[in-house]
Amino acid sequence: MTVYTNTTPVDAYRGAGRPEASYLVERLMETAARQLKVDPAELRRKNFITQFPHQTPVIMAYDIGDFGASLDASMKAIDYAGFPARKAKAKAEGKLRGLGVSCYIEACGIAPSKAVGSLGAGVGLWESAEIRVNPVGTIEVLTGSHSHGQGHETTFAQLISERLGVPISQVQIVHGDTDKVQFGMGTYGSRSLAVGGTAIIKAMEKVEAKAKKIAAHQLEASENDIVIENGEFKVTGTDKSIALPMVALAAYTAHNLPDGMEPGLKETAFYDPTNFTFPAGTYICEIEVDPATGKTSFVNFVAADDFGRLINPMIVEGQVHGGLAQGIGQALLEHAVYDANGQPITASFMDYTMPRADDLPSFKLSHTPTLCPGNPLGVKGCGEAGAIGSSAAVINAITDAIGHNKLEMPATPDRVWHAIHG
């Protein structure tokens, strides 16, 4: 069958299918709780997986998680127990309050090349890193993970800076230039830190091993007694040390290297993940509907996420905020519409409602990490979670407020008003 259309093709957006899947599951859970007349949070808790590793029926094997912890954290943050009283008080003032829970899990850090190959992918989903320590001790990292606003330049530099104890200004991240970086597999699927970051770690391990050999040789000590602290290679238990720039210089002048060692201090690693990572969390949203206009206002929005280890908490917060804005945008505001003649009627931002700062609440974020056993950083990725868990939380809350479960996204004031008044 052939279909001809003039409508815009669709493609992966933040979450890439996981918002849709999560929305389906969480709206079902909420609906089930209402029909069974059980507490929505308790219904989630009853159904949580608690034993790990957990093999799902579809390739994914969850390595670790504590879903109860994020549910607890969110319930506490929003004062779940106090909601019935708040709802009653609002009702007395003519407003409709609702609370919506959404528990999400996603598969990130994509992907083990064998696994995606078995699913029909034509590529492998490893990542690459080349670390060049320059003769003066500055460090360049050529990474296949291109940043498009996630702050890789900061987070990746932090990895090096923390490992070696050197100022972050000594580290430069090079990305996005195929003239400079041999190969990268792309930034999506919340993979850059788990996969790209681990490639950097693997390359660093090689750099450190070689540097320790050089330092040991110069300090006449055993490699095994060398530790790296504050940018210095020290012999444990003594005050003998060489600073990184001197080790680097030694590598490039090659006047006194161990027998058989090549000059230079530059290493490459290609890292193929052994498993996906599984960020998960609980979002709870409290809203108030004005029944006269159908307008939804936020009272509170809390998020408790398990992203594993956080390397840069401020950047993580920014990523969650951005994802939440997009998920809330989908739930309340955004809609690309064609009329019956195929004419796009939301062709500009005068009709397509982009979320703005005053459409959104101040989010309360918290973290309940379980360290990912699959990579040396213990990280899971955080770039898309906000867009994945939030839409269901909002729609669950609105349908709770108006006592009417059939409501399509976006839940515009017009739609909510009609749901209430018919």
Partner: protein, 264 residues
């Protein structure tokens, strides 16, 4: 690129003379309607005549019992004017809701009413306050000025010079913003004259642009309070129906915004 010639006259007469000379002239005020329209190639005037910098067209002053706002006064100018805030605070409030700060520093009252966008805020105020539009040729009462969708009583070359507002006893405005454009999805201006006459005008609702709402006027004349409107039902006939609001939703908003206008 289409060629056009930009003129900066220093008086209304000079502007009118330039308009007559051009083959397809257009007046420019704040530019927030004409410039986007030109960018989208929906208009390509031969001559663009800038009214916004004519000194005689900017200013606000008390006049008799009311106030006069000159046509090229910006929304920002109206919103923070102590003269307007004293005489008709609801009008200053309305101006403060138009667009965003960047728009408010450019858009003008003359430009807004000459365009008569069916979702613009000012037409509701002029109609409810029984204002008079002064041009370089005549005076036109608000009720005779707004003729329909993007249509006014103005002749092609006519220039609005000012809008005069009589004194009012009570006035209020409430607007439910269109979620995307932040124009009025529906906005209602209610006013009561010192003689007790009530006028209520709704914008954003009717397919014909700003309209008076007699059901609301009658109820408020008897009892100037939000509760007086509780039982009022507004007909959805002739109201706009689109992605962001059906006609019956807009009919509901007319009543709700009128009630909220009274609370201000």
């Amino acid at each position: 690129m289409y060629e056009t010639t930009y003129h900066r006259p220093s008086s209304v007469d000079e502007a009118a003379a330039l308009f007559a000379k051009g083959s397809e002239s257009k007046y420019l005020a704040g530019g927030h309607t004409l410039i986007p329209v030109m960018k989208q190639r929906l208009a390509s005037p031969s001559d663009v005549i800038d009214l916004a910098r004519i000194k005689d067209l900017v200013g606000i002053e008390p006049s008799g019992d009311g106030i006069v706002i000159k046509a090229a006064t910006t929304h920002y100018g109206v919103a923070q004017s102590s003269v307007v805030k004293k005489a008709i605070p609801a009008l200053a409030y309305l101006a403060s809701l138009i667009g965003d700060p960047a728009v408010r520093h450019r858009g003008t009252i003359g430009g807004s009413i000459a365009n008569n966008d069916p979702a613009a805020d000012y037409p509701a105020a002029l109609l409810a306050l029984d204002a008079t539009v002064k041009t370089n040729k005549r005076n036109i009462k608000a009720g005779d000025f707004f003729k329909g969708l993007f249509t006014t009583a103005l002749e092609d070359d006519e220039i609005i010079t000012a809008v005069s507002f009589p004194v009012t006893d009570k006035a209020g405005y409430a607007k439910f913003p269109h979620p995307a454009s932040r124009f009025a999805l529906t906005g209602v201006f209610v006013a009561r004259s010192p003689g007790g006459d009530v006028r209520a005008a709704a914008t954003g609702a009717s397919q014909n642009g700003v309209m008076r709402v007699s059901a609301i006027e009658a109820a408020l004349k008897a009892n100037w309070s939000a509760s007086a409107l509780d039982g009022v039902k507004i007909s959805a006939d002739g109201l706009m129906s689109d992605l962001h609001g059906s006609s019956d939703y807009r009919a509901n908003l007319i009543k709700v915004m009128a009630q909220r206008a009274l609370a201000i």
